[in-house]
C-alpha cells in the first residue's frame, strides 16, 4: 500500500502546527493521498441517496477533522447535508454519524446549528442518536462555553433517559460541563444505580466516580457512629432509644437539638449504591474494579470495606502498569485499613522478575501491613530481598526494615542487629543506606549502643556515600559522650579531608566540631578553629554562613553575645527521635483511583471529594414523581391528620409491591418502597405495619367483591349449562379431579362465555363495580394501593372492555383456584400402557401452588391400570436428578385394582430450568424410568401488579433481559380473549390491567428463583404484533417468547 512510503517520508519531519498539514500527518498520505481533489468526491458522496456512501463520506470527514485538518471548504456541503437532511434521515446510524460530523467541526459560526442539532438529537427516538448527542455536548462546550446554560438543559433532559446506552455518555458530559450541578443528579440517582450494571465499562467508571462524590454530599458518614460509640457509648445508646420511641417525625428536631446523639441509620439510597456496585468488583475491567474499590473505601461502613481487598489483589496479576496504579492505591488504603489486606500478605511478596518500581511499591505495602504477629515472616522475607541484585530495591528494603523497627518496638533490637551486620556488606550502597537507617534508630535509644557508634566511626575510612558519612558524623557528634576517645580522632581525620568532602558532609563536620568544642574543648579547640577557618573560605555560601554562625556561638568573644552562654543548650539539646512515615500517609484526602492521588498533587480538573455533611440533606429530593392519584387529595389530607409521616408516594406504590412479592425479593422491594417514599421517615417499620393492616382490609374487600363477581358470573352461566360451571368449580377446588382433559376444553368454552357476556353487558353495569369499589373504600378509609389493581384511574378512564378485563383478572389472581382451569397443557404421557405392562401414567401441570414447598411445580400424576391384575406399591424410586432439581414424592399408592385409576400429586423443583426430571416409577415388581420435562410456561406462577408497577419493573429489566420478537397474528386470534387465553394457556402468567387496548401485559415470577417474568404483547391493527418478554432469566425469556409465538401463530 502507499501508506508505508508516505510514512517513511514523514518520519523525520517535525509536527509543528504551523507547517503545512501535509507534512506533519503520517496518515494523510495513506488515506487521502489527493485530499484536495477528493473533496469533490466527498461532496458528491454526501449528495447521493445511498446510505453507505453518505456514511463513508462522513466518516472520512470526521477522520480529517480529528487530525486537526482544515475541512472548511467542505463546510457548506456538510452543513447543508448534515443539518438539513441527514439529521432527519430515517436511519438512526446516519443521524448519529451526521451529528458526530457536525459536532466535530470546530468553527464558531456553526454553534447555533450545532446547538439545534444537539437539542433535536437529545429527543430522538433512537438511544444511539441520543448517546451521540451526549458525546457532542462537551465538544460544543469546549467550542463555546457561553452555551453552558443551554447545554445543562440538554444534559438534564438526557440524564432522565432510561437506556443504558445513554447513561455513561451523559454522565461524562455532566462531569465535563457542570460537575458542580449536583442537584441534577437527585432525580436520576436511583435510576443510575439500577442501570449501572448494564452500562458499558467506560460509562461505569465515570458514573461510579461521580456517584462517589454525590454520595459524599448527600449521605451521612457511616463511620461517624462508630467513633461516637467509642467516645460516649452510653449516651449514644440512650439517644437511640429515645429516637425510636419518638418516631420518625420528631427525629429531625431531635437531631437538630442533639446532633451528636443521633444514631446512624444508613440512608436506603446509600445502601442501594453500595449494593448495586458490589457485583462490579467482578468486572474484567481493572478500571471498573478500581472505581468500585474507591467507592467502597470512601463510602462504605468499616465492616464492609473488606470485600474490595480480594478484587484488588486479583488485579495484581494484570499488566505491570495496572499493578503500579493498584499498588499505589493499596498502599494508601493499607495505612488506614490495615486489617483489610492482612490475609493477602503473601500476595505482595516480591519476585525477582518484578520491575523495580513494582518491587518498591510492594515493599511499601508489606511494611504497612507488618504488625506484631506477622513481623517475623515479613522480616524473613526482607532478608531474602536484601540479597537481591537490584540495588535500588535493596536500599528500599533497608528503609523498610527501619520503618518496621520504629513501628514495632518488639523487633527493634533484632532489626538493629541485622542492620549492623549489613554494615559489613560489600556493596557500598547497602552500607550507606544501613547507616542512614541505623542513625534514625539509634536516636530512639542511644545509651545502649556505644558499640555500634564505635563501629560506625570506623566506617568513615571506607564509606564514600555522602549521606552515610554525614549520618555517621552527626551520630558521633550527638553522642560524643558515649565515645569520648574516638570522636576527636574522627574530627581530626575529617579536618584533613575537609576540602574534598561533599557539602552535606562539610556541614556535619562543622556541626561535629562545634559539639566537640563544647564538650571537650581541651582536645579539640585547635581542630575546631582549623575547620571553621577552612569553612570560612568555602565556595558554598551555606557552609560559610554556618561557619560564621557557629564561630559566633561557641567561641567566646569580647562582646560576649548573650547567645554564646546558651550554646550548649542550642547544640546539645535532646532531640526528638524522627518518625519514619510512609509517603502514602494522608494521601487519601485525594479521591482514590484518581490521577491526583497517584501524583499526590492536584491535577487540573480534579473535583475535590467533599467531606461528609454534618446533617444529611433532605433525602426526598431523590423521590421520583409518580402520576398522582386522581382522588387522593382529600383522602391524603385525612390521612395526614392521623399519620403525619405518611408520604403519598409510598401510598402510591409501596404496599402493593410488598403484598405480592415473595420472601426473597421482599427485602429489595422493602427498600425500594421506602426509598421511593423517602422524606426522611426512618421509622418506616411502624408505617409498614399500618399498611399491612390496610392491605389486609383491602384484600378482604377485594375477595368479597370478587366473590360477588363470581356469583354474578355463575348466575349468568347457569342457564347456559349448570353442569359445566359446577364441574369447573370442582376441578379448581379439588385438584384431584380425574377429568382434567375434559376440563381444559371446558375452560376454553368458559373463556369464551365471559367474554361474550362482557360484550353484551350494558355500560351501566360495567362501571358499577368500579364506582362502588371506590365509594366503599372511601367509607372504610382503605389505602389506595390495595385498590389499585381493581380500579386504577387509568382503567376508569379507558375503554370499558379493558376495565372489565382488569376486574376479571384480579379475581383470578386473587383466587388462584379460578385460574387453574386455564391450565395450558393437557395430559402428557409419562408411561404408555404397553410399555408399562398395563400401567398407564399421565401427568398434568395443575398450576396450583404445591402445598409442601412454594418453589415446586405441582404435577398431577394419573395412574390407570388396564391390566387384569392389581398393581401394588406404586411409588417413586431413587431419582437421578440434575443439580438443583428436587422432587417431593407422592405418597405410595398401595394398590390399584384392574380398570381403576388414581391420581397423585407430586412437587418438582425444576430450579427454573427446563431440564427434565428423571426418576423411577416403581411397582412391587417392576421399575420404569420416566422423565418429566416442563414446558417453560409452567415454571412460573402468576403475580398481579398494577400497570405502573409493571412499567417500573419492566424499566429495570431492559437491555440484556429484554427479548423482543415480531409476529403476525393470524385472523383467528385477534380478539382479546383468544389472545389472553392462548397466552395464559402457554404460560402460567397473570394478566396485568392495561390502559390501552391492543396491548396485553402479563406478569409472573419463576417458582424457584422468584425472578419476574414480564410479557407484553403489542398488537397492531393489521395483525402485526410485537412480543416482548422481560426477565432476568434470559433462557426462560427466550424460550417463553418462542412458545408464546408458536401458540399465537398456530
Amino acid at each position: 500500500m502507499s501508506a508505508a512510503p508516505a510514512y517513511s517520508e514523514d518520519k523525520g519531519g517535525s509536527a509543528g502546527p504551523g507547517e503545512p498539514e501535509y507534512g506533519h500527518d503520517p496518515a494523510s498520505g495513506g488515506i487521502f493521498s489527493s485530499d484536495y481533489k477528493r473533496h469533490d468526491d466527498l461532496k458528491e458522496m454526501l449528495d447521493t441517496n445511498k446510505d453507505s456512501l453518505k456514511l463513508e463520506a462522513m466518516k472520512r470527514i470526521v477522520a480529517m477533522i480529528a487530525r486537526g485538518k482544515n475541512a472548511s471548504d467542505l463546510f457548506p456541503a456538510v452543513v447543508k447535508n448534515v443539518a438539513c437532511k441527514n439529521i432527519e434521515d430515517p436511519n438512526q446510524l446516519i443521524r448519529a454519524s451526521a451529528l458526530r460530523v457536525l459536532s466535530s467541526i470546530r468553527v464558531p459560526i456553526i454553534v447555533p446549528i450545532m446547538m439545534l442539532a444537539i437539542k433535536e438529537a437529545a429527543s430522538d427516538m433512537s438511544p444511539y442518536v441520543r448517546k451521540t448527542a451526549a458525546h457532542a455536548i462537551p465538544k460544543l462546550y469546549s467550542l463555546d462555553s457561553d452555551q453552558k446554560d443551554q447545554l445543562i438543559e440538554v444534559i438534564e433532559k438526557l440524564l432522565a433517559d432510561k437506556t443504558t446506552l445513554v447513561a455513561g455518555s451523559v454522565v461524562m458530559a455532566f462531569e465535563e460541563v457542570c460537575p458542580e450541578r449536583i442537584d441534577l443528579i437527585h432525580k436520576n440517582y436511583r435510576k443510575l444505580c439500577n442501570l449501572l450494571i448494564d452500562v458499558e465499562e467506560w460509562g461505569q467508571v465515570v458514573i461510579i466516580s461521580m456517584l462517589t462524590r454525590y454520595a459524599r454530599t448527600q449521605f451521612l458518614s457511616p463511620t461517624q457512629n462508630e467513633s461516637l460509640l467509642e467516645e460516649n457509648a452510653e449516651k449514644a445508646f440512650y439517644g437511640s432509644e429515645e429516637d425510636e420511641a419518638k418516631g420518625a417525625g420528631s427525629e429531625e428536631t431531635a437531631a437538630a437539638a442533639l446532633p451528636a446523639r443521633k444514631p446512624y441509620v444508613m440512608d436506603p439510597d446509600h445502601r442501594l449504591l453500595l449494593r448495586n456496585t458490589k457485583p462490579l468488583l467482578q468486572s474484567r475491567s481493572a478500571a471498573v474494579v478500581m472505581a468500585v474499590a474507591q467507592l467502597y473505601f470512601h463510602l462504605a461502613p468499616k465492616a464492609e470495606v473488606g470485600v474490595i481487598a480480594k478484587a484488588l489483589v486479583r488485579l495484581l496479576r494484570s499488566h505491570s502498569e495496572v499493578q503500579y496504579v493498584v499498588l499505589q492505591n493499596v498502599a494508601t488504603m493499607s495505612i488506614k485499613r490495615r486489617g483489610m489486606f492482612e490475609p493477602y500478605l503473601k500476595s505482595f511478596y516480591i519476585r525477582s522478575t518484578d520491575p523495580t518500581q513494582i518491587k518498591i511499591l510492594k515493599l511499601e505495602v508489606l511494611t504497612n501491613l507488618a504488625n506484631e504477629t506477622n513481623i517475623p515472616t515479613v522480616l524473613r522475607e526482607f532478608q531474602t530481598y536484601i540479597r537481591s541484585m537490584d540495588k535500588d530495591f535493596v536500599a528500599a528494603t533497608i528503609q523498610a526494615i527501619g520503618r518496621c523497627a520504629t513501628n514495632i518496638g518488639r523487633v527493634r533490637d533484632t532489626c538493629l542487629n541485622g542492620l549492623v551486620q549489613l554494615l559489613s556488606n560489600r556493596d557500598e550502597l547497602v552500607v550507606a543506606e544501613s547507616v542512614v537507617v541505623i542513625k534514625k534508630l539509634l536516636q530512639m535509644q542511644p545509651a545502649q549502643h556505644g558499640e555500634i557508634i564505635k563501629h560506625l566511626a570506623k566506617l568513615t575510612d571506607n564509606i564514600q556515600v555522602p549521606m552515610a558519612r554525614a549520618s555517621i558524623l552527626w551520630l558521633i557528634g550527638e553522642y560524643c559522650e558515649h565515645v569520648p576517645r574516638i570522636a576527636p580522632d574522627v574530627l581530626r581525620k575529617m579536618a584533613k579531608s575537609f576540602t574534598a568532602e561533599e557539602d552535606i558532609v562539610k556541614l556535619q563536620v562543622i556541626n561535629l566540631a562545634a559539639k566537640l568544642y563544647l564538650t571537650n574543648s581541651k582536645q579539640t579547640k585547635l581542630l575546631t578553629q582549623y575547620v571553621l577557618s577552612l569553612a570560612k573560605y568555602d565556595q558554598n555560601y551555606d557552609i560559610r554562613d554556618r561557619a560564621r554562625f557557629t564561630r559566633q556561638l561557641i567561641v567566646p568573644s569580647e562582646q560576649g553575645g548573650a547567645l554564646s552562654r546558651h550554646a550548649k543548650k542550642l547544640f546539645l539539646a535532646p532531640k526528638p527521635a524522627p518518625v519514619l512515615e510512609s509517603s502514602f500517609k494522608d494521601r487519601d484526602h485525594f479521591q482514590l483511583g484518581s490521577l491526583s492521588h497517584l501524583l499526590n498533587a492536584k491535577a487540573t480538573g480534579y473535583q475535590e471529594l467533599p467531606d461528609w455533611p454534618e446533617e444529611a440533606p433532605d433525602p426526598s429530593v431523590r423521590n421520583v414523581e409518580v402520576p398522582e392519584w386522581t382522588k387522593c387529595s382529600n383522602r391524603e389530607k385525612r390521612k395526614e391528620k392521623e399519620k403525619p409521616f405518611y408520604s403519598d408516594s409510598e401510598g402510591e406504590s409501596g404496599p402493593t409491591e410488598s403484598a405480592d412479592s415473595d420472601p426473597e425479593s421482599e427485602s429489595e422491594s422493602d427498600s425500594k418502597s421506602s426509598s421511593e417514599s423517602g422524606s426522611g421517615e426512618s421509622s418506616s417499620e411502624s408505617d409498614n405495619e399500618d399498611q399491612d393492616e390496610d392491605e389486609e382490609k383491602g384484600r378482604g374487600s377485594e375477595s368479597e367483591q370478587s366473590e360477588e363477581d363470581d356469583k354474578r358470573k355463575t348466575k349468568k352461566k347457569v342457564p347456559e349449562g349448570k353442569g359445566e360451571a359446577s364441574s369447573s368449580d370442582e376441578g379448581s377446588d379439588s385438584s384431584s379431579s380425574s377429568s382434567e382433559s375434559e376440563m381444559t376444553s371446558e375452560s376454553e368454552e368458559e373463556q369464551l362465555e365471559p367474554a361474550s357476556w362482557r360484550r353484551k353487558t350494558p355500560p351501566s353495569s360495567k362501571s358499577a363495580p368500579a364506582t362502588k369499589e371506590i365509594s366503599l373504600l372511601d367509607l372504610e378509609d382503605f389505602t389506595p394501593p390495595s385498590v389499585q389493581p381493581v380500579s386504577p384511574p387509568a382503567i376508569v378512564s379507558t375503554s370499558l372492555a379493558a376495565d372489565l378485563e382488569g376486574l376479571t383478572l384480579t379475581d383470578s389472581t386473587l383466587v388462584p383456584s379460578l385460574l387453574s382451569p386455564v391450565s395450558g397443557i393437557g395430559r402428557q404421557e409419562l408411561l404408555h400402557r404397553v410399555a408399562g405392562e398395563g400401567l398407564a401414567v399421565d401427568y398434568t401441570f395443575s398450576r396450583q401452588p404445591f402445598s409442601g414447598d412454594p418453589h415446586m411445580v405441582s404435577v398431577h400424576i394419573h395412574f390407570s391400570n388396564s391390566s387384569d391384575t392389581p398393581i401394588k406399591g406404586l411409588h417413586v424410586g431413587t431419582p437421578k436428578l440434575p443439580a438443583g432439581i428436587s422432587i417431593q414424592e407422592f405418597p405410595e399408592i398401595e394398590s390399584l385394582a384392574p380398570g381403576e385409576s388414581a391420581t397423585a400429586v407430586m412437587g418438582i423443583n425444576f430450579c427454573d430450568s427446563t431440564q427434565a426430571a428423571n426418576f423411577q416409577l416403581c411397582t412391587q415388581t417392576r421399575q420404569f424410568y420416566v422423565s418429566i420435562q416442563p414446558p417453560v410456561g409452567e415454571l412460573m406462577a402468576p403475580v398481579f401488579m398494577s400497570e405502573n408497577e409493571f412499567k417500573k419493573e419492566q424499566g429495570k429489566l431492559m437491555g440484556m433481559n429484554e427479548i423482543t420478537e415480531k409476529l403476525m397474528l393470524p385472523d383467528t386470534c385477534r380478539s382479546d380473549h383468544i389472545v389472553v387465553q392462548k397466552v395464559t394457556a402457554t404460560a402460567n402468567l397473570g394478566r396485568v390491567p392495561c390502559g390501552t387496548s391492543d396491548e396485553y401485559r402479563f406478569a409472573g415470577r419463576t417458582l424457584t428463583g422468584g425472578s419476574l417474568v414480564l410479557l407484553t404483547l403489542d398488537a397492531r391493527p393489521a395483525g402485526a404484533a410485537q412480543l416482548t418478554v422481560n426477565s432476568e432469566k434470559m433462557v426462560i425469556g427466550t424460550m417463553l417468547v418462542k412458545d408464546v409465538i408458536q401458540a399465537l401463530t398456530q
Partner: protein, 418 residues
C-alpha cells in the same frame, strides 16, 4: 479525556500519532524520553508522567510504548485499561502487534482508532462491533482495495452498536457449529531455599472460541464451582445467575474471548508439580563456583510435565559457565548473565540435570547473592486445582453444536530461591 496517542518504538522514534481533539505537538514526548532514560529499563518507565500542561500515561507492550496524552483529571486505570484494549484490538485485527505490522496497516489502524474514541471518550471498544465497522485486512481485500480504490470501511451499517448484546454480531452463520473452552491454570509460586513453599496460588482462565450460528444462549456448569474463590467475568456472563446457582450463563461473543478468570485461594493447598534441587556455591578462595540443578516431578497426578525451561539471572561476577546438561540444550549469555536451559519433557526415571562450574572474576570476592531460578512448564489435560466442567448446554438454537473442553496447567510466575 484522552487527547492524543503516540506510538513509540524501542529506539525512541514516534512512528504513529493520533489526535482526537486538537493536535498536541509531539515535543510533549520529550518528557517521556527523559523518564525513559532515567529508568534504564523499559519496564521501569513510570506509567504516569506529569508534565507542565499534560499528563502522559503509557503502557509498554510488544516492545512498543503506547503513550496517551491527557490534560485533565481522569482515573489513570481508565486510560491504561483503554490502551491495553487498543493493543488487544490490534492483535485481534492483525494477528501480531508490532511496529512493521502497524506501519503496514496504518490506514486500518487510523480507522480503528477513530472509531474507538469519540472526542477522547471510548465509543466502540468491542471487537465484534469494530469488525463490523471496519473489516480486518485480508490479502484478498487489500488487493481488491488497491485496485478499486475502496476502503476497509464496512458498507453495511453497523447494527451491532444498537443491539442489546453489543459484544455479539447479528446474523452470524457457520456451517460447522463449534464451541471450545480451554481451562488454563497457572501456578504462581515462590519456593524457598529448602524447597518449602512460601506462597502458591492458582490463577485460572477459561478462554473460549465459540463459532455458533445465530444467537445461542449457553450455560456452563462446573462439578465443583465452590473451588473458585474470586472470579471476574466477560460482560456477557449473567452475574445474578452465577450468584444464585453458580452456573455460567451467557450469550457468547463471536470468536475468541476470555470467558472468565478466577483465582483459587492460597488456603486450599496448592499442589506443586515440580521440584528443583540446586547446589550453587561460590568459594571465596578460588575463582570457580559449583553449579548443579536437577528438576523432578512432584505431584503431577500421573501426567507428564512438558516444555520445561529453566532461566536464571546469574550475578555480575560470573564471567562464564561451563555446564553439561543430561538432556536438552542450554545457553549462557555472558553480557546479560542470563542462563537458560531448555529441558523439554521430564522423564521420572531419568531426571534431567545440569551440572558444571562457573568461572568468576579473578580477584573479586564472591558475590553476595544467589541467583533465583525461574521455571516454566506445561502439563496437558490437567487442571491442577481440580476444577472440572460439568456440562455445557445450549438454548435458543436448534442445531447440535460440537463442544470441546481442554485442560492445561502452566507455570505462571514460578520462582525458586537459592
Amino acid at each position: 479525556m484522552i487527547h492524543s496517542l503516540f506510538l513509540i518504538n524501542s529506539s525512541g522514534d514516534i512512528f504513529l500519532e493520533k489526535h482526537w481533539k486538537s493536535v498536541v505537538s509531539r515535543s510533549v514526548c520529550d518528557y517521556f524520553f527523559e523518564a525513559q532514560e532515567r529508568a534504564t529499563e523499559a519496564e521501569n518507565v513510570p506509567p504516569v508522567i506529569p508534565t507542565p500542561h499534560h499528563y502522559l500515561l503509557s503502557v509498554y507492550r510488544h516492545k512498543i510504548f503506547f503513550v496517551a496524552v491527557i490534560q485533565t483529571e481522569v482515573p489513570p486505570l481508565f486510560v491504561i485499561e483503554f490502551l491495553h484494549r487498543v493493543v488487544d484490538t490490534f492483535q485481534d485485527y492483525f494477528g501480531v502487534c508490532s511496529e512493521p505490522v502497524i506501519k503496514d496497516n496504518v490506514v486500518v489502524v487510523y480507522e480503528v482508532l477513530e472509531e474507538m474514541l469519540d472526542n477522547g471518550f471510548p465509543l466502540a471498544t468491542e471487537s465484534n462491533i469494530l469488525k463490523e465497522l471496519i473489516k480486518p485486512p485480508t490479502i484478498l481485500r487489500t488487493v481488491v482495495n488497491t485496485i478499486t480504490g475502496s476502503t476497509n470501511v464496512g458498507d453495511q451499517l453497523p447494527t451491532g452498536q444498537l443491539s442489546v448484546v453489543p459484544w455479539r454480531r447479528t446474523g452470524v452463520k457457520y456451517t460447522n457449529n463449534e464451541a471450545y473452552f480451554d481451562v488454563i491454570e497457572e501456578i504462581d509460586a515462590i519456593i524457598d531455599k529448602s524447597g518449602s513453599t512460601i506462597t502458591a496460588e492458582i490463577q485460572g482462565v477459561i478462554d473460549s472460541c465459540v463459532k455458533l450460528t445465530g444467537m445461542p444462549d449457553l450455560t456452563l456448569s462446573f462439578m465443583n464451582p465452590r473451588l473458585l474463590d474470586d472470579v471476574s467475568f466477560h460482560p456477557c456472563v449473567r452475574f445474578k445467575r452465577w450468584e444464585s446457582e453458580r452456573i455460567l450463563s451467557f450469550i457468547p461473543p463471536d470468536g475468541n474471548f476470555r470467558l472468565l478468570s478466577y483465582h483459587v485461594s492460597a488456603q486450599n493447598l496448592v499442589a506443586i508439580p515440580v521440584y528443583v534441587k540446586h547446589n550453587i556455591s561460590f568459594r571465596d578462595s578460588s575463582s570457580l563456583g559449583r553449579f548443579e540443578i536437577t528438576v523432578g516431578p512432584k505431584q503431577t497426578m500421573g501426567k507428564t510435565i512438558e516444555g520445561v525451561t529453566v532461566t536464571s539471572q546469574m550475578p555480575k561476577g560470573v564471567l562464564n559457565m561451563s555446564l553439561t546438561p543430561s538432556q536438552g540444550t542450554h545457553t549462557f549469555d555472558p553480557v546479560t548473565k542470563m542462563l537458560s536451559w531448555d529441558v523439554g519433557k521430564i522423564n521420572p526415571q531419568k531426571l534431567p540435570s545440569l551440572k558444571g562450574t562457573m568461572s568468576l572474576q579473578a580477584g573479586a570476592s564472591k558475590p553476595d547473592e544467589n541467583p533465583t531460578i525461574n521455571l516454566q512448564f506445561k502439563i496437558q489435560q490437567l487442571a491442577i486445582s481440580g476444577l472440572k466442567v460439568n456440562r455445557l448446554d445450549m438454548y435458543g438454537e436448534k442445531y447440535k453444536p460440537f463442544k470441546g473442553i481442554k485442560y492445561m496447567t502452566k507455570a505462571g510466575k514460578f520462582q525458586v530461591r537459592t
